[in-house]
């Protein structure tokens, strides 16, 4: 079991507001890891730091054993991280097809435009539409497809099922299960504990900018009520 991403002592914030007070996380290759926490605890901030979108004030990030602390986002992405960001952030001025192709990094047997359309037929129907014309859910599918088209070795989904209809959500969960079986490493942020527990191998619980609890699937099953307390359920 190799560690794909290793985060240690990560501190970060926005201007004068400190948000992260020392995050330690390690993501194992081939596993599905989950980052949980209530609203505003710093999940997205952690992801932004990992992606190089936000400068950390302290701490270390290494990817595949290589120190990537402070690396620019494009370098992180090229190191194999694919992001489905919170709030979708698709390219509104590009068509669906262009959204998928613009940042694609094709590999043999990897994701192609056609394969994305197979997975999300709805997108296939709206191929020529501009990003800004899509419904909320369509945008969400596009954001996932776009990240897959970079053929990442670690796929990060920040609230990726938000706003999707139950049927589609179901499809996405089963697709994630399939991707996992194919060996893709995944980092999930989601509130849907039941669905999560079907595929997740590792759990990190973030509370006020620190990792308050971590454990594997077995730990999670046995300590679920403890975790749910943190989540105020």
């Amino acid at each position: 079991m190799t560690t794909l991403v290793d985060i240690s002592g990560l501190k970060a914030g926005y201007g004068n507001t400190k948000v992260l007070f020392g995050i330690d996380m390690d993501i194992t290759a081939g596993q599905v890891s989950t980052l949980m926490g209530r609203n505003g605890m710093g999940k997205t901030t952690t992801v932004r730091c990992l992606m190089g979108l936000l400068k950390a004030s302290a701490g270390k990030i290494s990817i595949n054993g290589k120190d990537m602390t402070g690396a620019p986002p494009y370098a992180v992405a090229r190191a194999g991280l694919g992001l489905v960001p919170e709030g979708r952030r698709i390219f509104p001025s590009l068509s669906v097809s262009e959204n998928l192709r613009a940042t694609a990094r094709p590999v043999a047997e990897g994701w192609t435009e056609a394969r994305v359309y197979d997975t999300f037929p709805r997108l296939g129907q709206r191929k020529k539409n501009f990003g800004f014309q899509l419904s909320g859910g369509e945008q969400q599918m596009l954001a996932i497809g776009r990240a897959l088209m970079t053929n990442p070795s670690l796929l990060i989904l920040d609230e990726a099922t938000e706003g999707l209809a139950p049927l589609i959500r179901e499809e996405i969960w089963s697709m994630l299960g399939m991707l996992k079986r194919q060996g893709l490493t995944i980092l999930l942020i989601d509130k849907n504990l039941d669905e999560l527990s079907r595929i997740s191998d590792r759990y990190f619980l973030i509370e006020k900018g620190e990792i308050a609890w971590k454990g594997d699937a077995a730990d999670f099953a046995s300590q679920r009520s403890h975790v749910e307390q943190f989540l105020h359920l």
Binding site: L53, F91, T150
Partner: protein
Amino acid sequence: MSLTLFLILCLNGLQYGMLLFLIAAGLTLVFGVMGFINLAHGVQYMVGAYLAFAYTALTGNFLLAVVLSLGTALLFGLLLEYFVFRHLYSRSHLDQVLATFGIIIFLNELAKVIFGPTTLTIAPPEFLSGSIQLTDTLRYPVYRFFTIFAGLAVALLLFVTVSYTRIGMLIRAGATTPEMVAALGVNIKRLFMIVFGVGAMLAGFAGVIAAPIFAIEPGMGDNILIVAFVVIIIGGIGSIGGAFVAALLVGLIDTLGRSLATDVLSFVFNPSFANQIGPALASMMIYLLMAAILVFRPKGLLPAKGVA
């Protein structure tokens, strides 16, 4: 008015439009992609003209001077981007206006100090000098044809690049969501730098081309900058196709307006009144056009899609 005159006017309008397009294209890209208001774009046009002057004086060869000028203009744009502009992308438009305004002031003065305040000219190259007989009564200078074709060629190249190539997609994507473009593996800083450099080079190219027709003087970029802004606004910001259509429109309307406004008015009013009002009206023409278009299409004629 004769048909010949009208044809000449149209050709001139076309040629002026092409020149405007060369300037506006860079401006609209830089504005559309980086959201950066670069007032110094006009000064880059001036720099192109002075470079052409200096290199022709140095080498005596127009073509060589063009090539050297283009290279230098590109380099100049890259340097400006590196030292000043990239620090301003995340700042407000007004900060950008102020900083680039400072650059205009500086470069205009510098040009005056180096080359003197007087108007300079360069002759068009030998092989582009004569004129072509179009009809019995109509001759048109080769050099002006050359500018029309140069403009068309650049327009086509840009249009294809922006609409159909991957770098074009990235440019359009970067316009609205630069952070995501970066997060998906594109070196956005370099992309911006390239766009900026190309924009500067296009402006410089326009300056080089204009040098033999018009004259070279400090501040020559200031007025044309405003017209270029009119063009990109009429066309819709960030839209190359829009800039092209608008440049032609502005070129034609301005040229025709200036020559015909007085005549047209004197059909209606008495000649002395027409003479008084006509020229003022002619100067206003492009502004009237812009205002009218914006009133009915507040985002320009062919706005880039999905850009808020």
